[in-house]
Amino acid sequence: MLVAGLDVGSLTIKAVVLEDNTIKDFTIIPTGAEINKLTKDCLELTLKKTGDYFKDLKIIVATGYGRISIPFADKSITEITCHALGANWLNPDTRTVIDIGGQDSKVISVDKEGRVVDFVMNDKCAAGTGRFLEVMAQALGVKTEDLGKESLKSRRKINISSMCTVFAESEVISLIAEGCAKEDILRGLHEAIANRIGSMANRLRLENTITLTGGVAKNTGMVQALKKRLKAKVYVPPEPQIVGALGAALAAQKMAGNNI
């Protein structure tokens, strides 16, 4: 049985095609203005890779920030439920999911079936999100994908006090002016985000294992900082970015199963 999950995020669109509980293939593309068309393209790309056709898909479930703008999806489910499903599938020991996405971050408590028990999300600003890191990377002249690697070189602790994207950017600029090393500033930024996420996570009763999802989980510096702050067992899936889409596909599979 062939199903698809689509995660329409604020920075990227993800598609996962699932056949009989196995990931057949997935695609990640950047988001643009025409969400509907781009999402369709993303799915078509994946289908091309798997050699399947759109009409073969039994059910399509969309999730993410743009989930309601996808008319060809059979259902929309929030990314919170999807991340919980996806993380549980990848690692059944998962009891907490921390998803750091492009526009928001969330902490989700999950039971052993992958059901959401409780969740919290960040305030509406970009602090502690992928977008925040992107802006800082730009200010420092570092490529987004190198952020983690660079920050791990740090030998000195710098405290970043602002968490507002605009203020933090000016703080970073003045630190550069003071001659601080890039890697130290980066480490400071990662620690600041980790603290912020940590205090958010503490609102829930944190339980092991913690699975990190979302694009930011690819950032090794961020993972290190979070491990330190949370003092917990942290699991990073090989493709943390597609966990939401995977969860959507799993939901689709469940729906399709019920229909048979």
Partner: protein
């Protein structure tokens, strides 16, 4: 040479901090009762045999408490709860909270739920100084005494209360004198040092502090300690700082670095902490007489914006401005302080109409002061130079 003398005393302050720090996690001579609001009657704490200690956790990041109180909450209160959660120091065992505002009320709730095992009491406070409010507050003081007596198996006699008022009175007398010397005379203590001396008083054993401050003032009054020349003072625009809790003495330093002279600090860690001493009179008084006097003192002292009496605050600010020839007012309020934020538009407009320029700053508590803040202070000082 002269400078060294002053330094010696300032070193003593640091040592003093040592005393209380010792008290905090080793064995203090007396148990410690913490407080958070200047409407808490320190006399009663002293009479009950405690060292009063104001929670001022400027080293605790408010976000530590974000799992228990919303992030749009008074950062001072969040830092206090954050420190409470650590349970590290002896002064966190006992706490009296004044019901001064929503933030304090919720601190009381959160402390009871998340810092279990400690003694905590909420003292209800009226919002004005009408005769009825006075009567109500006096009744609450009575209740506080009863609570302390039953909880700690002590007796707070008239005599103990009387002695405690004498101790607090002495502190008030000395601090009032310091405040006059500081603002009017040409002694060379900086605004930072001035505030530090006041704040030390809030966290030190009161009698020891009185001895120290008495000696310090005697020395200051000696001719050789008057250091500033007339022109040094005249050229500096005089500034009044008005606000909530001063978490960062750096701000006062930045103002002075930019050429200003801070003459008065209308904050609860500044000159709102003390007023003129209580008049006791000669004859011996009953416990309720003494409580009456204490109640009158606290409700009539320089009001915090939490009190609902804008005219009283305005009159007092105006008097300070006239007496000390204040050129400009800097408001420094911690974020999310509703009572201050509501008062600001009215007071600010009146000041503008009286030709007094104002600068409004916001603080996050326990954070470094930013470049932006420095620039604004500097620009404001440039404005004042032309007024």
């Amino acid at each position: 040479m002269k400078k060294i003398m002053k330094r010696e005393w300032l070193d003593f302050i640091k040592q003093q901090e040592g005393i209380i720090a010792l008290a905090a996690h080793k064995k203090p001579k007396k148990p410690i009762m913490s407080w958070v609001c200047t409407y808490t009657p320190l006399e009663i704490i002293i009479a009950a045999g405690f060292y009063p200690y104001r929670l001022l956790p400027a080293h605790i990041d408010p976000s530590l408490a974000n799992s228990y109180l919303d992030s749009n909450f008074c950062p001072y209160v969040r830092s206090c709860l954050g420190e409470g959660l650590t349970k590290k120091s002896a002064y966190l065992d006992n706490l009296i909270i004044g019901n001064s505002c929503d933030a304090m009320r919720r601190l009381y709730d959160a402390w009871r739920h998340y810092v279990p095992g400690s003694f905590i009491y909420l003292l209800d406070l009226p919002r004005n100084n009408s005769p009825k409010a006075l009567e109500y507050y006096q009744y609450n003081l009575q209740r506080l005494i009863e609570e302390l007596e039953s909880r700690f198996a002590i007796k707070i006699s008239e005599d103990l209360l009387y002695q405690a008022i004498l101790v607090s009175n002495k502190t008030r007398k000395l601090l009032t004198e310091l405040s006059h010397l500081y603002a009017k005379e040409r002694i060379s203590i900086s605004a930072t040092e001035f505030l530090q001396i006041i704040q030390e008083g809030m966290i030190s054993p009161p009698e020891e502090y009185n001895i120290f401050l008495g000696k310090f003032l005697d020395d200051l009054k000696k001719e050789e300690n008057i250091l500033l020349t007339d022109s040094q003072i005249k050229d500096r625009p005089k500034v009044l700082i008005s606000g909530t809790v001063m978490d960062n003495l750096e701000i006062a330093r930045v103002i002075e670095d930019c050429g200003g002279k801070v003459v008065f600090v209308d904050m609860c860690t500044g000159e709102r902490y003390f007023s003129e001493p209580i008049t006791l009179g000669e004859t011996k008084r009953s416990r309720s007489d003494l409580l009456r006097l204490i109640a009158e003192y606290y409700l009539n002292k320089v009001p915090c914006p939490r009190m609902v009496n804008l005219e009283k605050r305005w009159t007092y600010l105006l008097k300070v401005i006239k007496d000390y020839e204040v050129k400009g007012v800097i408001f420094y309020n911690l974020k999310f302080c509703d009572t201050s934020m509501f008062e600001l538009p009215v007071i600010r407009e009146r000041l503008q109409k009286s030709g007094i320029p104002t600068l409004c700053l916001e603080g996050e508590f326990a954070s470094a002061i930013s470049g932006g803040l420095k620039t604004r202070i500097q620009a404001f000082m440039e404005v004042l130079e032309f007024v």
